[in-house]
Amino acid sequence: MKMSKRNGAGLTANQPEPTVTREEWAEGVADRLGGEAVVEFDTARIYVDREKWLSTIRRARDEEGLNFFSWLTGIDWSKEVEVGEGVEDVDGLDERFEVMCRLSSVENSDAAHFVARLPKDDAVIDSLVPLFGGAEWHEREAHDMFGIDFRGNPNLVNLYLPDAFVGHPLLKSFPLLTREVKPWPGDVDVEGMPGDDEEPGAET
Amino acid sequence: MTIGDWLTESANWAFLFLAIPTFVASVMVVSSRNVVRAVLYLVIALGGSAALFLMLGAEFVGWTVVLVYIGAVIILFLIGIMITRAPLTKSVDLSHPISAKAPAALLSVLLFGVVAWAVVESFGLETIPLPEEATRTGEIGLSIFTSWVIPFEVVSFVLLAALIGGIVLARKDEPAEVP
């Protein structure tokens, strides 16, 4: 890996305005890699087929310069939730897991979140360990928390949870028992904000 | 001279005071069922022999035993044992079974008997004059470097050879860097 100093020196205090907008860039990447791009609040998501998960990520690493493995996690899209607030609409595809992996560049601010959708009853996807050594722990975490199975991870055992733990805590169906027994005392404590008395109707 | 006479001599009490622990410790060395304990008993046995040397006025020999045996050899021993992972508990396979021990014990006792017999026959009750003061180290040095130079050199060569041999045997072969 050659990391020239030039890249660092190029990071001047004032980034020049990108000639390509984030949307255009993300769509270009999605086109080239065969995915579907969504850009929201400056954050690019590229949805890819789970069959092509490994190959897409590999191409993103090798061809798009997104070689920095930032993180990987799962998302549980559920209508029925035990805790928190549920989802009203799950994009037509009812219940699903999403596996999301963020890759970025170490030379500029290019970054994209690659997302693969998994059905809940078949939560299996290729492991990224062959591409990024660092993916091992992230995948183990997602395995702990969601029960997603990563094919090819050499060491897919519990990372955070005790060995005998039953369940997957980050599933929306997993209850947060403590708080059922005793509600969070801070629920009512909403701090007064400046301007409350001036514009009482602002919140509506 | 009767036993009673013998016991009136304070030096003999000192002898017994040193000899009995030495002997008991050496028996423990050969019979202990824990390797490290056995070696620690060896420390006592050798320390006892060093003290006996002091008693005989051979101060240099005595402290050499302490320096070389207890200082270096024992530590070498212990390292050797620990690297070969001595268990803290008693181990059963340190010695041969009893069937092999019996003849060995017999042989040892016989050896002792024969030697004792021979010694008593030949020396009887001859006395040993304990020196008034310890042998001066300088005199031993002089003797070594006059009468015993060649054996001394040979011994030093043997030590060198043992040093090299030990290093060669124990070292790991590393790939040498070649020009």
Partner: protein
């Protein structure tokens, strides 16, 4: 009076004990330790006779020193050999060291 035989008998006793150890121990380290006892016994004899004879050249003491030196050399090499054997065979049992028989 201190007799000479008490020293020699002590030496003989230690020697016999050491011999017993050499013959019965299976652990190579302990065999070496037993040999050390035998050598210590020899040294006691040497020094005792040196004192007994009041040798002006201190032959007995000097021989005891030589014996100590040789014993140190022996232990050094012996331990090295034992380590080597342990590395190769994972055992320091002398009974298993009959490789050369085959």
């Amino acid at each position: 009076m201190m007799t000479i035989i008490q020293w020699i008998l002590l030496g003989a006793a230690l020697f016999s004990v050491g011999l017993y150890g050499v013959l019965t121990r299976r652990n190579a380290v302990l065999v070496l330790a037993s040999v050390e006892i035998m050598l210590a016994a020899v040294n006691i004899n040497l020094v005792a006779f040196d004192t007994y004879l009041s040798d002006p050249a201190y032959t007995g003491q000097i021989f005891a020193l030589f014996v100590i030196a040789l014993a140190a050399a022996e232990v050094g090499v012996g331990i090295a050999i034992i380590l080597m054997i342990f590395r190769n065979r994972h055992s320091v049992d002398v009974d298993e060291l009959d490789l050369m028989r085959y």
